[in-house]
């Protein structure tokens, strides 16, 4: 792991410097809009829809005006924003250790998901060996995908103690440098680059269409370990550089405690352990210490919101049916909050007033196993026919 004491300060300028470093390696992913979803978000939910939710019988249903800008990191290399952080961490290690040194030792991480693939790709493109520690219960397609990027895979037990022990063994044997999935400044700065692009893409689109009175008002991202959310918060943290304040919000699944970030944020104590099997499988991790310092201590995130599994599925269905893009369940949690969380919607109505908000939504990734998708939508079909 690069020595944190040598990392750049956690500021918007450092996110820009990270962007300069990784630009040759990552895609500037497209930003999509969708008038059907705008209309849906800008229509009050019906009393019928709110039945059975925590807002059943609420006195007044929220009526915000929302125009979405979807930053499509599902089209990013390896199919997720994680490529940004991994390429940035590797660039920084190259600076610290030299490319030749790093080629001799390699990089290592423990992950069964998008970060494993991202680090494997970043290593391969630099001719650096990548060692990936994966739980032995990982789904075969994920193992195959990571192997496909040329990584050396070592299996471990599935508890964090077991994974960390195996990771230490790999480091002792190879001298590989650890690149953690989210709890490191270099990773956070890399992930923040998506929001930088979003700012300039929205601003270009609005000025091209001659809409000079509007600007990006807020961004909502999914929050698992918090790398993407805290990086986004840094990218939006300098109002003078971006034509005014851009508020940043985090979105989590509420299922069986996966909303650790939200609970920590409103109680003032970071929650360090999560055991949730939410369908948003990228968001089952607790918030890391570095992300927490940005999100909570520096108050660069303006609020945290959560939604239930059914709401995530509904948002997923809308994105497939209306936008025709493939996203993983974790990717749509921000959209689900904007569509279905009355607390968030009331806040937007209050803050944005008549003019409404131009709201950036980061679609974090598109790596969904099709069989898993089939189970998800197949089940719904059965339920609807019952």
């Amino acid at each position: 792991m690069p020595d944190p004491s040598t990392t750049p300060p956690l500021t918007r300028a450092s996110v820009q410097a990270a962007h300069d470093l990784i630009k040759p390696y990552v895609h500037e992913t497209p930003v999509l809009t969708n008038s059907t979803l705008d209309q849906l978000a800008s229509t009050p939910r019906t009393v019928e829809e709110l039945k059975g939710t925590e807002w059943e019988g609420v006195e007044r249903v929220a009526n915000p005006r929302i125009r979405f800008w979807f930053k499509c990191e599902n089209f990013q290399r390896i199919g997720a924003f994680k490529a940004r952080g991994a390429f940035h961490a590797v660039e920084r290690l190259k600076k610290e250790e030299g490319l030749e040194g790093l080629r001799g030792t390699g990089v290592v991480t423990h992950s069964s998901g998008n970060h494993a693939q991202a680090l494997s790709l970043a290593a391969r493109e630099n001719g650096i060996p990548a060692y990936i520690v994966m739980p032995d219960i990982s789904p075969p397609p994920k193992i195959a995908a990571t192997k496909g990027y040329g990584a050396n895979i070592t299996f471990s037990g599935s508890t964090s103690t077991e994974r960390e022990a195996v990771t230490r063994e790999v480091i002792e044997k190879t001298g590989a440098r650890l690149v953690p999935p989210y709890d490191h400044p270099d990773i956070i700065l890399g992930q923040g680059t998506a929001a930088l692009e979003l700012q300039s893409q929205v601003s270009t689109a609005l000025s091209t269409s001659g809409t000079t009175t509007r600007r990006l008002n807020a961004v909502i991202t999914p929050c698992g370990g918090g790398g993407l959310l805290s990086g986004t918060a840094l990218a939006c943290s300098d109002p003078s550089a971006q034509g005014g304040p851009i508020l940043v919000f985090g979105a989590e699944p509420s299922f069986s405690g996966a909303d650790d970030g939200r609970r920590g944020y409103y109680s003032g104590t970071r929650i360090e352990s999560v055991k949730s099997l939410t369908i948003a499988d990228g968001l089952r991790t607790p918030l890391g210490a570095y992300p927490w310092s940005i999100i909570y201590e520096r108050k660069l995130v303006a609020g945290m919101y959560s939604v239930g599994e059914e709401e995530i599925k509904k948002a997923l269905r809308l994105v497939y049916e209306r936008m025709k893009v493939v996203v993983e369940p974790s990717a749509v949690v921000g959209l689900a909050v904007a569509l279905y969380n009355e607390e968030f919607r009331s806040m937007v109505e209050r803050e944005a007033g008549e003019e409404g908000w131009d709201l950036g939504v980061v679609f974090s990734g598109g790596n969904v196993e099709l069989a898993a998708l089939a189970r998800l939508f197949g089940e719904e079909r059965v339920v609807r026919r019952a």
Copy 2:
């Protein structure tokens, strides 16, 4: 139905005129590229892969070089290219009859699919009533979607005789003008506009990247009734206007006779009846008379190819997993031909030589019911685990 004797000549210039008419109403859909799929198409298939296909034991496996340009009509309004033909037909009827006249009588078609939604949308945006005759066994989501565009739905039996009888009744009662799904010059000219855009988008992309030695060499589209294929052939029919010849190919499912276009093309007699339950459900219709005159009689299509159901599923899986876009099974039949039909691949190798081809592939639509998708990919999972 507009009097065919008043329609413009079936030429590239008329496709351009159609484009001018419909531009305010339809999207210029994006063109995507994908290096993984290029690599796959440019790698010879293995002996193992060819086992059990009609090319098992072939002497020499094809080794073409293909660079794909995917024209994404799944992002078109109503989720399919059909919006182009429907808007063009309505514009032409407005010219013939006047908008006020048309508002008094309306338009009518029989379709349970994308054309029904396309005509309903085109009518609604012009304040014209739309009457849609649908088989009473149509899937509820398709009925709901068409109703969602404000159409008046009349149900009929599912044979073509029954549908046509009900359509005649609607016309007698309302005076509505018939807009057929594919077998009409105005529809064909409208559908051809996608290929016009593709030509200019590829040419812009190549010149932006400084690649002046390459150009669009060929286009392959799915073929059901033949509206898209014949329109594409017209759009590519004037080599002097487009910097050289662009060959056009049609792709069909081979399952239970859905390759009627191919069989007719190589036997010289149009096949007028098809009864296939191919998963490419948009391609279950026989080739129409107008499309046939362009495809076969004028020889504006250079060849017709077909692929099996498993190959369509494999291509579908690749598009979801690698490109992260939602397409319907019919949309990927052209890609499946380019990846898996040895006859097509040998022809490309022969015609294109070392330099290879820049091959346009039209993704015709993205309207897939998620439950149907679940069945498709769910089954595959079971098969793989068996």
